[in-house]
């Protein structure tokens, strides 16, 4: 079932020569705005029940404008948003709480603002009180609350009734760790029951663990819509892009998508994984010493070069990453035409599964300042367990065991 349909949505802020022209416009008098400033244009997508969608984009890309139009606080200039069901947003928790009123009175007020009547609120009240877990404070004025307690009450009301669409802000840090777990459990529970999640975040981890689809906004348009890992790779590349660099996306043989970006002064020739005998391998056994060999070619003179790599699991979550800046092997004054081979040796203390390696060439300690080349999925390898006792997880941390009785 289509829960949300966004059709050719656009938002423009109109600037008039004089505000009186705007007012004349309400009375159908001809008055042209001096300027139209489009923050979003031609946005179309639709969302099915039970999906979890991450909305990503740089600051100013139009994420919050889009969400405001979906929730209905902002009116679109063109296009339309069609919603089948109720939307709840955990964006501004504690909005409109009155410090002089008790928690209970504020719950009444907030739930009323969400459109529930006294009877419905009455029914949910006990559950809200129980979920917030603030004890007798529930009947004390909110001004005596700590900020964490206020968040607890606010979250409990906001999620007291299961919505069809739940919008979650990235800064979902609801109080202490215990309550964070509890609130995430509730969000997941909703999702199981068919609630669609819309998550706004910059956090790759959150997007990839919670979402099954991501939408990337850039300068007011959707530039990518698809699998979260692919979209996040593209997003990272855009951040790294900065000036005059190109972003190249290539479909690999196995169907996954590789993203390459950078200014191109230095480029990655080849990436390979080798065993102790110096033979290239694709399957690595747990704990086996391996060597990651990266060949780099310099195409124009550069003052400094740092190479970094990151091992990611099959969901794209970082497992381990470092670079030659941190390893104390930064190179300086490189000439055009030089070729370099790096060898990173390490034991493959990884759990069973498939891993990918991303490689980046840049200056200083991160790819933000100057990015020569960034390549996601530069190498894919599998870890198999042939010699070790059975275990689960991403890392191999062999324990010793002792038992006293």
């Amino acid at each position: 079932m289509t829960l949300l349909n966004v059709d050719n949505l656009g938002k423009a802020y109109r600037i008039y020569g004089s505000e009186w022209q705007r007012i004349a416009n309400w009375f159908y008098l001809p008055a042209k705005p001096r300027e139209e400033h489009w923050v979003l244009k031609h946005i179309s997508f639709s969302i099915q029940a039970g999906e979890a969608i991450g909305i990503v984009g740089q600051n100013g890309a139009g994420k919050s404008t889009l969400l405001k139009m979906i929730t209905g606080t902002l009116q679109p200039t063109e296009g339309r948003v069609q919603v089948n069901g109720r939307i709840a947003a955990i964006l501004e928790l504690g909005m409109g709480f009155n410090p002089e009123l008790t928690g209970r009175q504020n719950v009444y007020h907030s739930a009323g603002l969400m459109g529930f009547n006294a009877e419905q609120i009455e029914q949910a009240m006990a559950e809200i009180e129980a979920f917030a877990e603030i004890g007798e404070y529930f009947d004390e004025p909110v001004r005596t609350y700590s900020s964490g307690m206020q968040m607890r009450v606010a979250f409990s009301v906001a999620t007291a009734f299961r919505p069809e669409i739940l919008i979650v802000d990235e800064a979902l840090s609801v109080g202490d760790a215990y309550f964070q777990h509890k609130s995430f459990d509730r969000i997941r529970e909703f999702q199981k029951q068919g609630t669609t999640l819309l998550i706004v975040s910059h956090d790759r981890g959150a997007i990839q663990t919670l979402c099954n689809r991501a939408i990337l906004l850039e300068r007011g348009t959707v530039i990518k819509d698809g699998n979260p890992e692919e979209v996040m790779d593209f997003y990272n590349a855009i951040i790294a892009e900065k000036e005059n660099a190109k972003v190249e996306v290539r479909q690999l043989d196995d169907g996954s998508v590789q993203t390459r970006s950078g200014t191109g002064e230095a480029s990655i020739e080849s990436v390979g994984l080798y065993n102790a005998e110096g033979l290239p391998i694709e399957f690595v056994s747990v704990g086996e010493p391996v060597s990651l060999r990266i060949v780099v070619r310099i195409s124009s003179d550069i003052p400094e070069l740092v190479i970094g790599y990151m091992i990611k699991d099959r969901l794209g979550q970082p497992v381990f990453g470092t670079n030659t800046h941190h390893l104390g092997c930064k190179l300086e004054t490189l000439r055009a035409g030089e070729a370099l081979e790096y060898r990173f040796g390490f034991p493959a203390n990884l759990g069973v599964g498939s891993y990918s390696v991303a490689v980046a060439l840049h200056t200083a300690d991160s790819h933000i300042s100057c990015n020569y080349e960034w390549c996601d999925l530069a190498l894919v390898f599998n870890v198999v367990n042939v010699s070790k006792e059975a275990f689960v997880g991403l890392a191999w941390i062999p324990p010793t065991v002792e038992c006293r009785r």
Binding site: T73, L74, M95
Partner: protein, 264 residues
């Protein structure tokens, strides 16, 4: 229009609880609580009465009560304070609630309705206090007082219509918020609340014809001070003006609503 009323009905619980909360919160930590709402206007009446009664008492013909001037003042204040409160609060309503309007989705029309409701509640309390003072001063309540109900509605319509127009404009042109209190002050002195209409020179009396509050205040005087049925013809004109302003206000509110959040 119909949808507006519909959503208002759906949110009735919210409107009622907002009015109650506002009331509770305002006096949450004060000893005298709701009494303050009555103390303010009554003090004002007392000040005027003390200073001006000797000058103006003689000009109020037809009343035997020696506190006639105080009665006259209270009747006028009852009408004017309701008018001024609604206009004044609607004026900054959307700016004050800007954050809420930007973040939450709810029928905007509830906001002015909450203002009207809580102003009416204040006015009711003031009315009860006025009745008590009247009783002390020897003025008995009369059946004509039921005329106050339609009159109050007329004041509400007039003030809400005007307030809505000004409140919407104020979002876009902030000077409105500065000008209106000054205009209200001048308007107050051009309405016979503090003084009897008789002291206005004959040639200036025509100003009263264009003041929609004049028939209202006059009617309050007729009812509360003189105990007679108000001049319905005069008040009728004001009612028409009030209905016109309310419709204009609602129209502008509807047209401006999409752009209002952009400008806040």
């Amino acid at each position: 229009m119909f949808a507006m009323l519909r959503s208002l009905w759906d949110y009735r619980g919210f409107v009622v609880s907002s009015i109650r909360n506002e009331f509770v919160a305002r006096f949450a930590r004060s000893r005298l609580g709701g009494l303050w709402m009555i103390i303010h206007p009554l003090t004002q009446v007392a000040i005027y009465a003390l200073i001006l009664s000797n000058v103006l008492a003689a000009k109020l013909p037809g009343i035997e009560n020696r506190y006639a001037y105080a009665l006259y003042l209270m009747a006028g204040t009852l009408a004017w304070s309701l008018f001024a409160e609604i206009v004044g609060r609607c004026l900054t309503l959307f700016i004050d609630q800007g954050n809420l309007m930007k973040k939450m989705r709810f029928p905007r029309i509830t906001l002015p309705v909450i203002v009207i409701g809580s102003s009416l509640l204040n006015n009711l309390l003031l009315f009860i206090a006025v009745l008590a003072v009247f009783a002390l001063l020897g003025q008995a309540p009369s059946l004509e007082m039921f005329w106050l109900i339609p009159l109050t509605l007329a004041v509400v319509a007039l003030a809400a219509g005007l307030g809505l127009i000004l409140g919407v404009l104020n979002v876009f042109v902030r000077d409105i918020g500065q000008v209106v209190p000054i205009v209200l002050q001048i308007w107050f002195w051009f309405t016979p609340v503090v003084y009897p209409v008789g002291i206005i020179p004959e040639e200036l009396r025509s100003i009263m014809d264009v003041n929609p509050m004049y028939p209202i205040v006059n009617a309050y005087h007729d009812i509360l001070v003189y105990g007679k049925v108000p001049d319905l013809q005069q008040a009728g004109v004001t009612v028409l003006v009030a209905i016109g302003l309310t419709l204009l206000g609602l129209f502008m509110f509807r047209r401006a609503a999409p752009e209002m959040v952009d400008a806040l």
